[in-house]
């Protein structure tokens, strides 16, 4: 599964990767030649010399073969898997390294921090609200929740982010407009500063995200509340609260877990973009900046890592689903 995804990604990126590699070889050869201070009699001679050098370099790296040749393909696969992603043209990590791996690994914890925290909060709120409106199916609350889910589902999360910045950073100065903390990472107060800066993006993602969650939870819980065994529990005198929040929720778990994966998937792109809006120092922000600067190594590296994270999430959801519902075998 992961392998086929990787194959597809490389197939998509192969030619671009080659182009950027050849470009970087061109640049480095030209610089090398100009530093050697060889005098040429004509521009033709210079060009010939450089061309020969470039040709040699390309051969030694193996770029003379197309990206889909078995040897190159295998190499690329190994390179990408070991995160050997080349050097960035215009970005550096805080330690000054321009290796794509270092830059991305420096940003990744921030992305994971924001994304996981918001997912946990969203799922907690979503489960509770969903179960609550399910127990009152057909009420005003139920209808408000459904309407809210439809509305928030069609709103781009990054746009809500911009509105939140306008409301809470410009109109009312409660939160900072840019979420990159000003203190240095070595400073002990850095963690607190980071969390404070995380609040606004977090609130935004949760606000937009929990509606559809609650909607799905409600959908499944309502289905289960109509089952006979729940009726039996009611007649046995178990309190309604316990039935809804304990018995019904537990039995609705398998489909809910699938939806977790799906909703993660749906909010994934939005979460990347909202990093750019809030200037949160994660991979999404890096992505946005790299696209603006046409820094291909970074774009390719981030794409690859985001894909891996995503595929792993879906994969994990599959396994969890199998755990909750043993009837399903994980393929």
């Amino acid at each position: 599964m992961l392998f086929s995804t990787l194959t597809l990604t490389i197939a998509l990126l192969g030619s671009t990767m080659d182009k950027t590699l050849i470009d970087s070889i061109n640049a480095s050869v030209k610089e090398e030649v100009s530093q050697q201070k060889i005098t040429f009699h004509s521009t033709d001679e210079y060009r010939k010399y450089v061309d020969v050098k470039i040709e040699q370099q390309i051969k030694s790296v193996g770029l003379d073969e197309p990206w889909y040749s078995p040897k190159r393909f295998g190499n690329t696969m190994i390179k990408v898997m070991t995160l050997d992603l080349g050097k960035s043209n215009s970005f550096t990590s805080s330690s000054g390294s321009s290796s794509v791996r270092d830059i991305i690994l420096e940003r990744m914890p921030n992305t994971i921090l924001l994304f996981t925290t918001s997912t946990i909060i969203i799922s907690a709120i979503g489960l509770y609200v969903g179960a609550f409106v399910a127990s009152k199916a057909g009420s005003v609350w139920d209808r408000i929740n459904s309407a809210f889910a439809v509305f928030s589902g069609s709103f781009p999360i990054w746009w809500i982010g911009m509105l939140m910045i306008f409301a809470f950073a410009f109109a009312y100065h409660i939160f900072p407009a840019r979420s990159t903390p000003l203190t240095q990472p070595s400073d002990p107060s850095y963690i607190i500063d980071l969390l404070y800066h995380m609040l606004l993006p977090l609130i935004t993602i949760v606000l937009v995200g929990f509606g559809s969650w609650a909607y799905f939870v409600r959908f499944f819980v309502v289905g289960i509340l109509n089952e006979d065994y729940i009726q039996a529990k009611r007649t046995a005198g178990i309190s309604e609260k316990k039935i809804v929040y304990s018995h019904a929720l537990k039995n609705a778990a398998p489909p809910i877990v699938t939806v977790i994966a799906l909703s993660l998937a749906a909010s994934f792109g939005g979460a990347i973009l909202s990093e750019a809006v809030f200037d949160w120092p994660g991979m999404g922000k890096l992505y946005y900046d790299a696209i603006g600067a046409f820094d291909y190594p970074i774009i390719i590296g981030v794409t690859y890592l985001l894909t891996v994270i995503f595929v792993l999430t879906v994969f994990a959801a599959d396994i969890v689903y199998g755990y909750f519902d043993p009837r399903v075998k994980v393929g």
Partner: protein, 461 residues
């Protein structure tokens, strides 16, 4: 199976569905209005800063200027020949005089930020002279400019095409002659203030101003091609302008047909592909099914946005390519649904009968199974439009949209790059996102209403 008339009737009864249809009608009206009434040039030149020089920078919508909330900020005024000018001609000693008069009703509480007078004159050999007089509401007339026009640099000889700016030293020089009219100290280096000031005390003089631009033409074939008055203001138009002076109302209007095109093309194409793909997998079964569904699974577990980004970086950014990219990721869900339905339908007796009659598989699929799924297909098309619109908007937002056309996502990209939200330029941020949301919402409402009619399963709960 429900008949078409029943579907229409039930849809009419669904309030959410009708609301969605209403929004869609408004969007279509916007698209038609844009196509008919707005010059196509504004669509093509959206990213060309030269096209927008006459417009103000980051001006708020003019309806914010109601005057109840505080002082009335000056409106940005653009007047140009031939629409707004009253033209008179005379001749004096063989010299042709052409006068363009522009009337400005100035009743705002603060001064214009600047002004410019664009002109374009074609002439034979002698450069024409431009004389500008401003008649004020109090009867005074200031001659602010009297000079022979320099030949234009860009077009070579025999054409004078440029602008007189309020910061032009010749304007201040002329205005110095009127210092005596004022009861207090005036400053001729700020002509936009001096011209619009009261003579008695330092305040705005409200009323009708007339800008008389007289061209002295020395050849018989000389002609004034262009003239005008641009008064710099703080508010402009229905939706204001952005930092690169673009009129946001025009961008928002053009965004409607683009969004509808992308949304509908992508969803129709991907739903149809998914439908045929899923039905083939479900009907054929066995190994075909297994293989097709494995491919489906691969696409299912790919993150859309990063791959969209990489494809537009690697392949191209034209709107048709982007549409194609979105289709690549759009068909997956429909394939799953139609496969599971085809599995049910293929065991129905009439399909079995068709098979026994020796009809070919293709014929059975297209004649007997797919028609059964058509109502569901329409619902799916409507439901999958928002994803396509959001996908394109997201791609535009990271800066990878089609650079040759305005889209809502691109307007938001520009706004985000300029930090519009943090600097309070709300009219640049709120409307485009609202349009994206409302367009998505319209299709979701329509889709959900259709779905609950044609899909009995979702009706139950």
């Amino acid at each position: 199976m429900i008949s078409r008339r029943q579907i229409v009737e039930e849809f009419r009864r669904s309030r959410a569905g009708m609301a969605g249809a209403g929004i869609l009608a408004v969007l279509i009206a916007m698209s038609l209005y844009a196509a008919i009434a707005i010059p196509l040039e504004s669509f093509r030149q959206w990213n060309n800063p030269n096209y927008w020089v006459d417009y103000p920078r980051s001006a708020a919508p003019s309806w914010t200027n109601v005057g109840i909330l505080g002082p009335k900020a000056p409106q940005h005024i653009i007047l140009s020949y031939p629409n707004d000018a009253s033209v008179s001609r005379s001749s004096l000693n063989g010299i042709n005089l052409v006068t363009h008069t522009y009337t400005v009703d100035f009743d705002y509480d603060s001064y214009p930020s600047d002004f410019m007078l664009p002109y374009d004159v074609k002439y034979g050999s002698t450069p024409p002279i431009l004389q500008v007089d401003v008649s004020r509401p109090d009867g005074k007339t200031f001659r602010i400019y009297y000079f022979s026009l320099p030949p234009s640099q860009s077009t070579g000889g025999n054409e004078a095409s440029a602008r007189v700016f309020s910061s032009d030293p010749k304007v201040s020089e002329n205005l110095r002659n009127y210092y005596g009219d004022f009861k207090y100290q005036q400053d001729a280096s700020r002509p936009e203030i001096m011209i619009f000031s009261d003579l008695q005390h330092s305040a705005v003089l409200k009323g009708k101003y007339m800008f008389k631009e007289t061209f002295y033409l020395f050849g018989n074939s000389d002609a004034v091609e262009k003239s005008g008055v641009v008064l710099g203001g703080k508010v402009y138009g229905l939706m204001g302008t952005d930092e690169s002076r673009r009129d946001l109302a025009i961008g928002l209007l053009w965004g409607a047909p683009v969004a509808l095109f992308i949304g509908l093309t992508v969803s129709i194409a991907s739903v149809l592909i998914g439908l045929v793909y899923g039905v083939i997998a479900g009907y054929k079964g066995k190994r075909t099914d297994e293989g097709l569904m494995r491919i489906n699974d691969v696409f299912y577990s790919l993150p859309t946005l990063p791959l969209l980004v990489i494809m537009s970086v690697a392949i191209g950014r034209s709107i048709f390519l982007i549409t194609g990219f979105l289709v690549i990721f759009g068909w997956v869900g429909m394939a799953k649904i139609s496969r599971s339905l085809a599995l049910q339908i293929k065991n129905l007796q009439y399909v079995e009968a068709a098979k026994l009659m020796g009809q070919s598989d293709i014929r059975i699929i297209f004649k007997h199974i797919i028609p059964q799924l058509l109502p569901l297909t329409f619902a799916s098309i409507a439901i999958s439009v928002p994803a396509a619109i959001l996908g394109e908007a997201g791609l535009s937002f990271v800066g990878l949209g089609d650079p040759s056309i305005p889209t809502w996502g691109q307007i938001l990209h520009d706004a985000n790059s300029a930090g519009a939200a943090a600097s309070g330029v709300w009219w640049w941020v709120a409307p485009p996102g609202f349009m994206i949301a409302i367009t998505g919402l319209a299709f979701v409402l329509i889709g959900n209403a259709l779905d609950s009619i044609v899909n009995p399963r979702s009706k139950k709960i």
